[in-house]
Symmetry: C2
Subunit: 385 residues, 2 copies
């Protein structure tokens, strides 16, 4: 992959990401809209004058129906945010891409945030995990997510196996509108897929419709998510009208490449060294980053002369998605890399410092949320019914 050319045969579904992804072509395949400079400017205006780095640096690059949602907000019609996590193990840094943006949007716009923890889905989707394990990871992951700085008063959590009494009455209505042929086509299910996974997309639609259902009025929803999750919400959007709820708007990010050079920082079927886990000890962080795949040249001399390729580099991806503290720093790293001034060892050293600082601050914040995390979990339906 030295030239960063996209592979012809990439695959992106909620259950598989492989090959080198051509994001522009993926957007066309999925039929989503481009996040244009005009739309970014509109968001900038609504958000109070600047843009989150994940948007400024192009990681969020695609959307569905964002413009009317922002226009509505500007005209006094609030929306809410929804994103989720399938708890198969500890979070890694690429999982923060949607939650970092949500936290920023919540802080800027004062909107509610709904977080779904899909412990049932992970048990159904992933052989070798017990329900006890996915439930345990669900709570651990929730602590990490909340510790990013969500507002306890404006954040509600749908933790599937713990919130099912609240979610099921709405899930029953959703499931009745979805046929097996739809989920087969959208998710590529086969006859050997278990019936839990077949049913599951009904639950993933629930938070998107929840306040409209609970409050009996139309409440718009914005879902920031990896573009691999778009198929789930395509089902949700197709159902919305028939159920009398607004179609959720989507904001899609690219996948964060894995430390071993894979298309996505996933450890499904991969070595744990492909991802930087939030619970990795200091020494593990150092080892993983020092061994990480970069866009560097074969020799120092060559790199000084020709420069390196940030676009294929897993270290550059980390600077880009989270660890460059300013646009200036991000430009400095990018230009240093491309010009050959900044060598990989030096670049990794600077990144490692920042990762350590984040992990230390995060561990502290994480302890604090434990006191109130449980109170965010929705356990009762909105009305006795």
């Amino acid at each position: 992959m030295p030239d960063g050319e996209p592979n012809e045969s990439f695959v992106v579904t909620p259950y598989e990401v492989k090959g080198r992804i051509d994001y522009a072509r993926l957007r066309e395949q999925f039929g989503t809209q481009e996040l244009t400079p005009e739309l970014r400017a509109k968001l900038q205006l609504v958000a109070g004058g600047d843009l989150h780095p994940l948007i400024a640096r192009g990681i969020y690059y695609s959307h569905r129906d964002l413009a009317p949602l922002l226009d509505g907000y500007a005209n006094g019609k609030p929306f809410f945010l929804y994103s989720g996590r399938g708890p198969s193990g500890p979070l890694h840094t690429s999982h923060l891409v949607s939650f970092d943006l949500c936290r920023w949007l919540q802080a800027r716009l004062g909107v509610p945030m709904y977080i779904q923890i899909t412990d049932d889905e992970k048990f159904w989707a992933r052989a070798g995990l017990t329900p006890e394990e996915t439930r345990k990871w669900g709570l651990e992951n929730l602590y990490d997510i909340l510790a990013l700085g969500f507002d306890p008063k404006r954040t509600r959590v749908f933790f599937d196996t713990r919130s099912i009494a609240a979610m099921y009455p709405l899930a029953v209505r959703v499931a009745q509108k979805v046929t097996y042929s739809t989920v087969k086509a959208v998710f590529g299910f086969t006859p050997s897929t278990n019936i839990g996974l077949v049913f599951y997309t009904a639950l993933q639609s629930v938070p998107a419709f929840w306040p409209s259902w609970a409050e009996g009025r139309s409440v718009p929803c914005l879902i920031p998510c990896g573009i691999d999750q778009d198929p789930h919400f395509r089902v949700t959007r197709d159902l919305a009208e028939g159920l009398g709820y607004p179609k959720p708007a989507l904001l899609h990010s690219q996948m964060v490449p894995g430390l071993l050079g894979d298309a996505a920082m996933s450890t499904t079927g991969n070595a744990a060294d492909n991802a930087l886990f939030l619970n990795d000890p200091t020494k593990t962080v150092e080892r993983k980053l020092k061994n990480a795949f970069t866009g560097g040249r074969a020799t120092v001399e060559e790199q000084r002369r020709l420069g390196a390729t940030p676009e294929v580099c897993s270290i550059w991806a980390l600077w880009r998605t989270r660890f460059a503290e300013s646009d200036q720093k991000f430009a400095e790293v990018t230009q240093g890399c491309r010009s050959g001034r900044l060598l990989c060892g030096e670049c990794k050293g600077q990144l490692i410092e920042r990762v350590h600082a984040f992990y230390a601050a995060h561990a502290e914040a994480r302890e604090k949320v434990k006191g109130w995390a449980e109170s965010t979990i929705v356990t009762a339906p909105p009305r006795p019914d």
Copy 2:
């Protein structure tokens, strides 16, 4: 159907019953065991000396693994009973076939009874019903069932949309073991089946495994049900071992023929006059029974001379399943019919009296259970988990 010959092309599934059923052949098709005289004698002994009319008169005719369950009971290993109802509307008398037997077994053996109310399934299976309607009928049906005389202290109810917090953790484990190809083969689902119905069989297995799961020990289960429900529990039985729970035993009844002469007293796609509803007013009961299909002859003269055919008669089926208060009365009606002594009008008149008496007593009992029915509904999982 004058000669009572079984139709070659009958169909029996949980979602369809049609044609004139050859019950012996159906038992062979389903691969169930015959309820032999030896096994009935064993049950009689365990139950304290006599048999319930539904068994004595051959309505229960098939089983799976009944013998080891009864032997276990005789040797001090108790079991529990489980049966259910899909609440699409008011109960009719054929729905009492499983609950009447359960009530008798509970009274004789002192065993717990689990009742499942599948309001979610009925919404998924039946177009034109809202979730509010199936839930409302669920409670109405529950009153009718409990009013048959179940013991409040030994009866627990799994009311799907109200008990889901309790059921879901176990349903998640069950669903992971069932593939789409299994439910497709067993229930005849098609690509246009909704994903709720695809998932549903996981919930129907839950009560059968519940005490084994909740108490962490093997608790045998006996499910008296119409033979049309056998496919659901074939799935349940196939799963049991993999989950570490005992296979439930089954006791299968024949279907009660409809008042219009159909194979089953169902009103799916049929006139309401096919069934005798427990909430039918006195005059409606009279009209329906007076118009009911019988095994009588074209003229009184012919019937006096040749006798009538009880086996095809919907009125005789009511005597047989519930309304003949003694074996003597049942023999009297059957012989009277066959010999031509008892004409259809007289026979119907005698039955109508008994139906009225039952409805009056039932209405009174039904008012009394309303005070404690809610307390039987399981709403919490057995442990916080």
